[in-house]
Amino acid sequence: MAEALQTMQDLSGKVAGIVGSARVFTAGDLLDKYSANEGCSQTGRPDIVAQVSSREQVQALVRLANECGVPVVPRSSVTGFYGGSVPEQGGIVIDMSGMKKILRIDPKNRWALFEPGVTYGELQAELNAKGMTALLPLAPHPDKSVITSCLEREPKLMPKHHLDETILTMELVLPTGGFFHTGSMAVSQEPPEKVQAAAHTDLCNFMGPGLDWFRLLPGSLGAYGIVTAMNVKIAVKPTMQKLIFFGFKNLQDAVEPWYHLLHKLIGDECLLLNSRYLALLLAKEPGDISRLQAGLPPYTIILNLTAGEHRPEEKMAYLEKAVQDAARIFQLQPMESLPHAQDAAAALQAILSKPWDDGGAYWKWRGRGASREVFFLTQLQRAPEFLRELQSAAAGSGYPISDMGLYLQPKQNGRAFYMEAGFSFSPDDPAEKARAEQVQGEASRGLVDKGAFFYRVYGPWTELVYGRTGNLQKTLKRIKHTLDPNNILNPGKLGF
C-alpha cells in the first residue's frame, strides 16, 4: 500500500477531487440506497459513493483505491437485484449509472457500443430508429443497465445459436488501474469511440488478447475489472411476427413438444411461463392478477414466429406449417390468444420487445410488492424434477404454491434451460418476508443437492455452490490474486 489512509475525510476529499464534491456522498439516506438490493436480504454499507461521469474518473478512483487500500464496488444499474453491488467490506461504490452515452451503432455489423449507465429502454429507442433491436431478457427492470445484464448473463429471449454470448469487445479498468481493451479493440488504446478512427477494426473480434475476457469477466461481479464501455450484438428488427401459444396442464407434457420446436429451429423468441408469472405480465391492473391467473393454462409455451426483409409472408407460411406439423405430432392445439386474455398476443409482443415500462411496480413485484427468486440452469428433461423440488420446498415452508412464479428460457437452441421461480411477498409483513426467504433457502439447497446448476452465484449461494466444485473457487481466487494483488475490486463477492 503506497499511502496509508488517515481519515475518511482525507479519502472523500480525494474522491471529490476526481468527481467533484457534488457527486460524492458519505452519509445520509443516499448511502442506504447503495447498502441493499431489492431482491436479497444482504446489506453492506459503503463508506463513500462516487457518481462518475467518465471513464477517466473510474480509472482515477481505482488508482486512488489502490493507493489507499480501499475496496471499490462498481455499480451501473440504479436498481440492483441480487446483491452483486452491495459492498462486503465497505469502501467506495463507483456509481456509473450516469454514464449514458451510446457511442456508436453499426447496423451493418449488427452491434452497438455504449457506456455502463445505458438502459435497455435507452438503447432500444436508438436501435428502433435504425430498424434494429437489442437482444432482450424478459421484461427487464427499466433501470437495468445493459452492460450489467450482459455481465450477469441474464438469459436472452432469443435462444438461437451463440446469441447467449452477446459481448464483442470491451474497455476495462483493470484492478490495478490501467485501461485495457479486449478483442479487436485492443489494437488501439484510444478511447473506445475513437478506436475505429485510429485503427482498421470494426470491433467484431471478441477473443483475447491474453485471456478470453468476454468470458472471464461475466459472472465475476466486478472482481476482475470494471467495464467502462462494451459493444454487443444486436439483431435486425422483424417485419412480420406472430405469437403462438401452447398450453399445458403440467410441465412434463411440454418437454417433448418443446424439444421438437427447438431442434427444428421454429421461431425466434421462445419461453415458458406458468400462469402466475404470465398473469403478472399481462394483468392490466394489479387487481386483475388473480382472476387472470385462474383462467390461464397452468403452463404456456410462448413462441414468436418472425420474418425479416425477404419474402416475409413466405417465411411465415413455412413456419406456421411447421407449427401445425408439430401440433399434429404431439396432439396439441396451438393458440393465437389465451383464455381470459384475448389480447395476449399483442400485449406480449409489446412486452417482449422492450423493458418493463408500465409505470407501476416492476412486474415481478406486482403480486405482493416484493419477491425472492431462485434461478439456475438445467436440461429440459430434468425441469419437471426440479419443479417438484421447488413445490416441495414451498409446501414445506407453508408458501402457497399458486403464488410461485415459474419461467423457463431455452438457451442455445434448447441445449440448456434457464429456470426461475419467484416467491412474492409483502415487504411490509415480516412473517411473509421470512417465509419467502425460507422457501428460497430450502429450495436452493434441495435443488443444488439434486444437481440444479447455479451458474450465477450470489450471496448465500456462494458457499452452497462453490463448496461442491473442488478446486474451482481456489482457481478463481488465484486468478483474482494475479489480476488484483491489492484485492481492491469488490472483495469478498466471490467468497474471497
Binding site: W111, R153, H161, H162, L168, G178, F179, S184, A186, A199, H200, T201, D202, L203, C204, M207, G208, P209, G210, L211, D212, R215, L217, P218, G219, S220, V236, H263, K264, L265, G308, E309, H310, R311, Y318, K321, L377, Q379, L380, Q381, R382, N413, G414, R415, A416, D449, F453, F454, Y455, V457, V465, T469, G470, N471, L472, Q473, K474, T475, R478, T482
Partner: protein, 549 residues
C-alpha cells in the same frame, strides 16, 4: 533438474511400463511437425536434439495428475498433445516428455436431446461426427482434418469450412476438466457441479473458459492438460450414415440427401485484376445472407483453396490448374432444411433474390468448377474438412496472414497482406520458387454466426526446403509487421510465444498479465514451455534478438 532414470521409473509406475517409452525410434516420431515451415527449419536447426526424453500414455485423469506431480518433483517439462497436428504439440527443449492421450479416446456421453457430447482427448472429429450423425446431430468439421483431436481443436480455436452458423471450435467448447501445471484438477461449467450434467459452459461464477483459452491460440498446453471436455452438437438433417462412393483417396460423396443443397456463386469480373471488387461483392453477399439469416454454409474460397481442397491426388491438382477449372475465387453456399423441406425451398428463393441483388451468378452444373467442387469436394467439408490436402501442392504450407473482425475488415486485410506478399515477390524475389499462382493471391473468407464476425487466412506453399521455408517465415514476419504498422485488427490475434513480449506493450501490457498467471500456476515453466508465454519478462537485449537486430 533434468529428466532422470528415477523420473522414468516413476512414470512407469503410474501408467505401466507398456505405456511409457524412451525408445529413440518411437520418440523420434514425436519430435516435430513436418508440414509447417517452422517444423522444417526446426529439423535443420536441432537435428535429433528435440526428440522427447520419453513418451507417456496415461489412461485417465488421475494418471495425468500423477504424471504432472512427478514432473513438478523432478522439474522436467511436459508437452500435452492431442493428435499432434500442429507445432505446439512438439518439444522445444531437451529433456521434455510428451504426454500422448491415445488411451483416452472415449466418447463418454452423447446426449441427443440436449445436443452435446462429453469426450476424452483422443476422440477425433471423424469418430464424433459418425456417432452424432446417427442421432440427427453434427459438429462443424475442422479444416485441420477430421483425424485431429476434437478436444485440442476446441481448446485452440478450430476454424471450419462450415461454421456460418456454428462458429469456431472455441465457441463450441462447453465444460472442461483441466489438470493444472501443478497437478491440481479443476472443472468448469456444469461439469464442475456433481450431478448437474455436462451440458453447460459458463459458471459457476466467472467462466473459466476465459482462463483456459485466449484469442486465436489458447494456451497451447501452457496451462496444464485438458483431460475431458463437453462440446456442442448441432441439428443435422442429412443422412444418418454419411454416404460415400469410391475408395481411399478417390472416396467422395455426391449428395447429402434432399435436405441439403450446395451452390457456387461467382461474379462477372476479371480475375485477378478485379479481385478487390470480387471480394467486396462476396462480402456484400454474406452481409445480405446474414441479415436474412439463411444458409448453413457460406464461405469464399480463393483459387488455392479450391484447387488444393478438391484434389484427390497431386496429379489431379496440377491437371485442374492446367485446365483452369477454377478461373477465380468462388463463394460456396449450402442450405440445410432443418425445419422442413419448405424451409429449404424458402431459403433457395431468398438466396436467388440476394445473388441477383449483389450481381452474382450461380455456377451451372455443367461447368467444370461445379463438377469438381460440388460433386466431389463440397460434402467432404462436412465429413473430413479437406485441409490436409493443402499440403498436396508442395508437401508444406503455412498461413501467410489471418485476421478476425468484420467481413469488411477481412476483405481489407486479405488485400493488404497479399499486396505485401506480392511486393516482396516482385522486389526481393521472396516466394519465387513457391507453387504459383497458389501463393500471394486471394484468401479464405469465413464468416461466422450469420456474419456477426469473420476470419480469414491466406496461405503460402513453399516446398520442404530450408531456403523456401526461410522465405516463408520472412514473408509471414513482414506481413505481420505491416499489420501492426497499419493498426489492423489482425494485430490482436497474434498472441502466442514471443509475440507476447513483442506486442504486449502495445496492448495494455497484456504480456504482464499472462506472465503473472503463468508464474501463479506454473512457476517452474514446465507446462509446454514457450506456449503460450514464459513466466519471466524478456530483457530488452533478448527482445532485440527476437526482432532480428
Amino acid at each position: 533438474m533434468a529428466f532422470t532414470e528415477m523420473a522414468y521409473k516413476a512414470l512407469q509406475d503410474i501408467v505401466g511400463s507398456e505405456n511409457v517409452s524412451n525408445d529413440p525410434a518411437i520418440c523420434q516420431a514425436y519430435s516435430r511437425v513436418q508440414w509447417l515451415p517452422s517444423g522444417v527449419l526446426q529439423r535443420e536447426r536441432c537435428g535429433l536434439a528435440m526428440r522427447p526424453a520419453c513418451v507417456v500414455m496415461p489412461g485417465s485423469t488421475q494418471e495425468v495428475q500423477r504424471i504432472l506431480q512427478v514432473a513438478n518433483r523432478y522439474t522436467f517439462p511436459f508437452v500435452p498433445r492431442g493428435s499432434g497436428f500442429t507445432f505446439s504439440a512438439f518439444p522445444t527443449l531437451a529433456g521434455t516428455i510428451v504426454i500422448d492421450p491415445k488411451r483416452m479416446d472415449r466418447i463418454i456421453e452423447l446426449n441427443e436431446k440436449d445436443m452435446y457430447a462429453v469426450i476424452e482427448p483422443y476422440v477425433s472429429f471423424v469418430g464424433l461426427q459418425a456417432e452424432a450423425m446417427k442421432c440427427g446431430l453434427y459438429t462443424p468439421t475442422p479444416l485441420a482434418g477430421s483425424q485431429v483431436s476434437c478436444l485440442a481443436n476446441y481448446s485452440w480455436h478450430g476454424a471450419y469450412g462450415n461454421s456460418w452458423i456454428t462458429g469456431i471450435g472455441a465457441q463450441n467448447l462447453l465444460g472442461f476438466e483441466l489438470v493444472l501445471p501443478d497437478g491440481e484438477v479443476v472443472r468448469s461449467g456444469s461439469m464442475a457441479c456433481p450431478g448437474a450434467g455436462s451440458f453447460w459452459n459458463d459458471g459457476p461464477g466467472p467462466d473459466l473458459r476465459g482462463f483456459l483459452r485466449s484469442g486465436m491460440f489458447g494456451h497451447a498446453g501452457g496451462m496444464g492438460v485438458v483431460t475431458k471436455i463437453s462440446c456442442k452438437l448441432w441439428p443435422y438433417a442429412g443422412p444418418a450414415e454419411f454416404p460415400a462412393e469410391g475408395t481411399a483417396n478417390m472416396k467422395f460423396s455426391s449428395s447429402l440427401g434432399e435436405n441439403w443443397k450446395w451452390y457456387m456463386i461467382k461474379f462477372p469480373l476479371k480475375y485477378p485484376e478485379q479481385e478487390e471488387q470480387e471480394l467486396r461483392k462476396s462480402a456484400e453477399l454474406f452481409y445480405e445472407m446474414g441479415r436474412a439469416e439463411i444458409g448453413e454454409v457460406a464461405t469464399h474460397l480463393a483459387q488455392q483453396f479450391l484447387y488444393t481442397y478438391s484434389s484427390v491426388t497431386k496429379q489431379d491438382l496440377f491437371d485442374n490448374m492446367k485446365n483452369d477449372v477454377f478461373p477465380s475465387g468462388f463463394c460456396v453456399v449450402a442450405l440445410q432444411g432443418k425445419t422442413s423441406p419448405d424451409q429449404l425451398a424458402y431459403e433457395d428463393r431468398v438466396l436467388h433474390d440476394i445473388v441477383k441483388k449483389v450481381g452474382g451468378i450461380f455456377v451451372k452444373e455443367d461447368e467444370p468448377a461445379y463438377q469438381v467442387w460440388i460433386k466431389r469436394a463440397a460434402n467432404e467439408w462436412i465429413r473430413f474438412g479437406n485441409a490436409q490436402r493443402l499440403s498436396r501442392a508442395s508437401d508444406c504450407f503455412s498461413i501467410g496472414s489471418s485476421n478476425v473482425d468484420s467481413i469488411d475488415q477481412i476483405v481489407y486485410e486479405i488485400l493488404e497482406s497479399n499486396k505485401v506478399g506480392r511486393d516482396l515477390l516482385k522486389n526481393e524475389g521472396l516466394g519465387k520458387d513457391f507453387v504459383q499462382p497458389l501463393s500471394m493471391n486471394g484468401g479464405w473468407i469465413s464468416p461466422q454466426e450469420y456474419g456477426y464476425w469473420c476470419l480469414h487466412t491466406t496461405d503460402v506453399f513453399p516446398e520442404q526446403a530450408v531456403d523456401q521455408c526461410n522465405q516463408a517465415i520472412e514473408i509471414i514476419g513482414k506481413v505481420t509487421k505491416s499489420q501492426f504498422e497499419r493498426r489492423s485488427a489482425a494485430a490482436a490475434i497474434h498472441m502466442i510465444g514471443p509475440a507476447y513480449d513483442l506486442f504486449g506493450p502495445m496492448m495494455g501490457d497484456v504480456h504482464l498479465i499472462v506472465k503473472g498467471l503463468k508464474r501463479e500456476f506454473d512457476p517452474g515453466n514446465l507446462s509446454n514451455p514457450g506456449y503460450a508465454t514464459r513466466p519471466d519478462v524478456v530483457t530488452p537485449e533478448e527482445l532485440a534478438k527476437m526482432m532480428g537486430h
